[in-house]
């Protein structure tokens, strides 16, 4: 029993979970409305999109790479699918998802080509594609925002869909959004890939030691290509969720929020050097960041502090895991 508890405490996730609990209690003491079912449902709905992006980024991080272009892919998928739907008059949410995800996979494939075939540095490639994709979207597709009135109904309906409803005291109702289902689906699918397929093994292997993975026979090019296409696919999903949530689309949105997603993932314990981390940790990180972002004002800090805290969290989160890694490599006399 003692060793089992000790084993649990070895994982970073438990500390994050405790921090979230403590944090939630502090916020609830200031604002009792926080720990209500309705607020929690609302929180889930609005952070599901970030959760999906975080899972994508997490998988890239596992493979030892970095991808900062996912926000541009998400907004590109969103804006293009909305415009196509508006132009063609078709009002089908599945078509929207299809278009957005196709755009996402296509753009992700562009990343994949540069990274896996040309073997270029992942950060610089994705910095370049972030600029190129977003610039191309704004220059070639357009900059006009889509307001609620023009938005096809399928988005609005989708945004409101709930799994089940509960009623408040005054008779109105609220519910748990289907976004949760999508998030759970993505989580399960990603988890299955990572845990039970050779592809998943390959991802961990590349992240752990690329040279060893190569010599073990893993198809590095194929695996990396898949990873970046998958990130694009997830970004496409998030794009449609985002537009349905806001009932509004502005091609300048989403881009600029990369740091929050990255903060969530590193908070969850994923190491930049790749090879370790868990989806659970990533999700906990997303929860923490979401709660932080939405309740900063409650704690008496204006929204100006947001940027500061995100940066601080990234630094603290990464410092802890990096320092542990450093100590471990010193003790084992390996040179990173």
């Amino acid at each position: 029993m003692n060793t089992k508890i000790k084993k649990i405490f070895k994982h970073n996730e438990i500390y994050l979970f405790l921090i979230i609990i403590v944090f939630s209690l502090i916020i609830t003491s200031i604002n009792p409305a926080f720990l209500t079912l309705e607020n929690l449902f609302d929180l889930t709905k609005s952070s599901a999109g970030m959760g999906i992006l975080a899972i994508g980024f997490f998988i890239v991080l596992l493979s030892g790479g970095i991808d900062v272009s996912f926000t541009a892919i998400a907004i590109a998928g969103q804006y293009i699918s909305a415009n196509v739907l508006m132009a063609s008059g078709v009002d089908n949410i599945f078509l929207a998802f299809l278009i957005s995800c196709s755009v996402g996979v296509f753009l992700g494939a562009v990343n994949g080509i540069f990274i896996s075939i040309f073997k270029l540095s992942t950060l610089i490639v994705t910095l370049g594609t972030l600029s190129a994709f977003h610039g191309a979207l704004l220059a070639f597709v357009g900059t006009k925002a889509i307001n609620t009135a023009e938005l096809p109904d399928c988005f609005k309906v989708f945004g409101h869909k709930n799994i089940f409803m509960l009623s408040r005291a005054d008779g109105t109702s609220y519910g748990l959004s289907v976004y949760v289902l999508i998030l759970i689906g993505v989580v399960i699918f990603s988890w299955l890939i990572l845990k039970y397929t050779m592809l998943g093994r390959g991802i961990y292997a590349i992240g752990g030691n690329r040279e060893s993975a190569l010599r073990s026979g893993f198809n590095i090019v194929g695996i990396q290509f898949f990873i970046y296409c998958y990130v694009g696919f997830l970004a496409g999903i998030m794009g449609v969720m985002h537009i349905s949530l806001l009932r509004y689309s502005n091609p300048m949105y989403i881009v600029g929020t990369e740091l929050s997603v990255i903060a969530a993932v590193v908070l969850g314990g994923a190491r930049i050097t790749g090879g370790t981390g868990s989806i659970l940790g990533t999700l906990l990180g997303v929860v923490m960041i979401s709660i932080l972002e939405k309740n900063l004002v409650l704690m008496g800090l204006s929204s100006y502090w947001h940027q500061f805290f995100v940066g601080l969290i990234i630094i603290v989160g990464v410092s802890i895991t990096s320092y542990q890694n450093k100590r471990r490599s010193i003790e084992s006399l390996t040179f990173r």
Partner: protein, 331 residues
Amino acid sequence: MLGKYAKTIVLFIIMVGVFAVMVIFLQDKFLTVTNFQSISSQIPEFGLLALAMMLAMMTGGIDLSVVSITNLTGVVAAIILTKFAGPQMGEGQIILIIILAILAAVAASLVCGFINGFLIVYVGVPPILATLGTMGLFLGIAVVITEGHGVTGFPDKFLYIGSGTIGVIPIPLIIFIICTLIVALALNKTSLGLSIQMLGSNPVAARFAGINNNSVLVKTYLMTGLLAGISSIIMISRVNSMRPGYGYAYLLTAILVIVLGGVNPSGGFGTVSGVVMGVIILQLLQSGFNILAFSPFFKKFIWGFMLLLVMVINFIIAGYQQRSGKLKTRA
């Protein structure tokens, strides 16, 4: 082919070529005094950022926080300039305040650089993530100090730095040239510079060769911070204001020019002359695009596309050189 000067010569040819294309296609609009003035006013502040990024990249790392450092140090200097310098003060006092502001900016930039160096060296955070975090942190501090607003209204004597000239040469350009010479000298003639190159090329070998990796890295990031701080002083004196969030477009283009200028993102290789030529090429292109009235979005697309293109070309050239036995790359 032509030995180690091959890349530099190719760059020079490209630079002249771009200039020629601009002149041919945009004749009267390009060859104007105002155009050259605007080019030469942008080169210093941007070039210093490129040099800063170059130093970090030569050690095999990267510094994504350079623009945030300029934001923060600019805010620090701006606050001192506006809070302490009143119109009723004597000239001597104003100059004192200006010197104080500049010193404060330099100190702030060194602190920022040290934080970067500390995280990377002593905590062991990889440069990408460390500077990603400090990018947000430093900008966050700047935003909190100014509450998102801009700070304007600097004393005239200070603005002299940004818009004054010595002879026909603008002061910012002189500062830039001096810094370039110092960095080039440091990289090629001092032991620190050589250590940087060796460390970037192969950190483990450098360590075993007796180089104190930790101290070299910290000094590198200190220099990066310092250059960013100098850039911010030029920046704010040129536009007579400081608003947090300014200059982030420079980040991608800084990486673009140094990759264009021959710096290897994995570290170890790179020349100051290459970077300077890269800066000039970029500014020429930038000015050409402005004359052609390209939208800022299209420019964004082009910079991203160019970065990818340059990387691919470098990859192909390296492959070609490797096959012909000229380039000895590490595994």
